[in-house]
Amino acid sequence: MSLVRLRFHLLAAWSGNFRKIRAKLSLGRSLNLSTREGLRVCRVPSHRFLDFFVNRKTSSHLRLASLACQLLSFAAPLTASAHGFAGDRFFPATISTDDPFAASELSLPTFSEIRQPGQPPVKVFDVSTDLSLLLFPRTALTIGDGYSIQKVANQSAQTGFDNAALNILYEFFENDKHEAITSIGLTWDIGGSGRHSLGNDSFSTFTPTFYFGKGFGDLPDNLPFLRPFAITGTLGLSIPTRVRNESIAVDPVTAQKTVSVDHNPDTLEWGLALEYSLIYLQQHVKDIGLKAPFDHLIPLVEFAMSTPLNRGINKLTTGTINPGVIWSGQYFQVGVEAIIPINSHTGRNVGVIAQVHFYLDDLLPKIFSKPLFGP
């Protein structure tokens, strides 16, 4: 499962003439956008996961991690579990939405770049990583975070790490014949784990999510060229642990206090990915003579959406449509997608997201081809 995702959701909490927008560009990353006329980035999140490796205790932590890796590498060869398979179907790790598979995998790195409108416009560049480990059969733990660079014209860039996030996912149903899989999971966006002065939420958000995947290889033989299609999707309810933020501004002249309130609504996080696997076409339907690298391409379009449900900002859906392509090899995949906002509340500029994603169970089978715990 890849936790890298592109989520935009609108807070639409009005405070004076300001409209505050929160755009989530990836797992745990939170960009709060304030504007008078449109969107304008004003806060950047931060990060702790990589800090573990790179802070003042870098050398000792790296030595510890290296020792742990060496110990694990002596483990006996293990029987394999399949990543991203349901029957004959191989599902790639989708880039902008989550996929339903529990597997050991690593997204490193994921780049995204988008220009947000406003006066002046802001260019947002983000680098992130997700690490998923198969803890038990069908159960995976994912940790992820990112680093953002935001640049306003003629100003120095603001940089910072995002809030970290954790996800636990459990595959509870799989039907190989019909290439179907469903999972449930819980994501914890860890409030306060980022750099607060750059705008990370100081409160946590929990998102219980339902995941599904379905390949269409079971379509009738008279529809052969529809059989490479597959769909994955998510449906989650994002619940902030703080329903509103209050801030007090004091006028330096009159000493008058102004209290502004931002509401944090529960939001419905929903996403879809429609894929057409040329791998499936070549291997299971008809060999049409595609040669490398085209025989390993999976064109897809992803829909990453967010709909606030309460606290006065109901049903103002924001999100993006992300058409792109993934190339999937034996050990890793590479993907790139355009980021197209669906409405003016989300933004007006097209961005781009790209990712390199490693299948750890194939790359390092002695360590990752079996759950860390259990058979």
Binding site: Q283, P365, K366
Partner: protein, 121 residues
């Protein structure tokens, strides 16, 4: 050098140079080709995979449209190419046939698949 960048390079280097890496065995190509229509009955089905196979755990079967298995049951991994799985066929009549395979690579990763081909009159 920036410590984050150094860590990034170290991880990429570890992944790229991982020793003893194996992977799932995917179908590379087959004979008869996946979804093909052939003149003249093939005497065997051969599948070339992307990884070396564990012979004892692999399976290759051919069925006619009625669901009856018609291969000779002598499936084997080629002695000169451990990524080639094959099974012999009797003389096939014109019709559609289904190939079902199960490939286990040498690190025990399992993949399954099936495809069809047609023998033309």
């Amino acid at each position: 050098m920036n410590p984050y960048f150094r860590l990034f390079l170290a991880i990429i280097g570890l992944l790229v140079t991982a020793q003893g890496s194996w992977a799932h065995a995917f179908l590379d190509h087959a004979e008869p080709a996946v979804g093909s229509a052939v003149h003249g009955a093939p005497t065997a089905v051969k599948i070339w995979f992307t990884e070396k196979l564990e012979p004892a755990l692999c399976k290759l079967q051919v069925f006619e449209e009625s669901g009856k298995e018609i291969d000779k049951g002598d499936q084997a991994v080629d002695s000169g190419n451990s990524a080639l799985l094959m099974v012999s066929l009797p003389s096939l009549k014109p019709g559609k046939y289904k190939v079902v395979w199960r490939a286990v690579s040498v690190d025990t990763h399992v993949t399954n698949g099936d495809f069809k081909f047609e023998v033309l009159p």
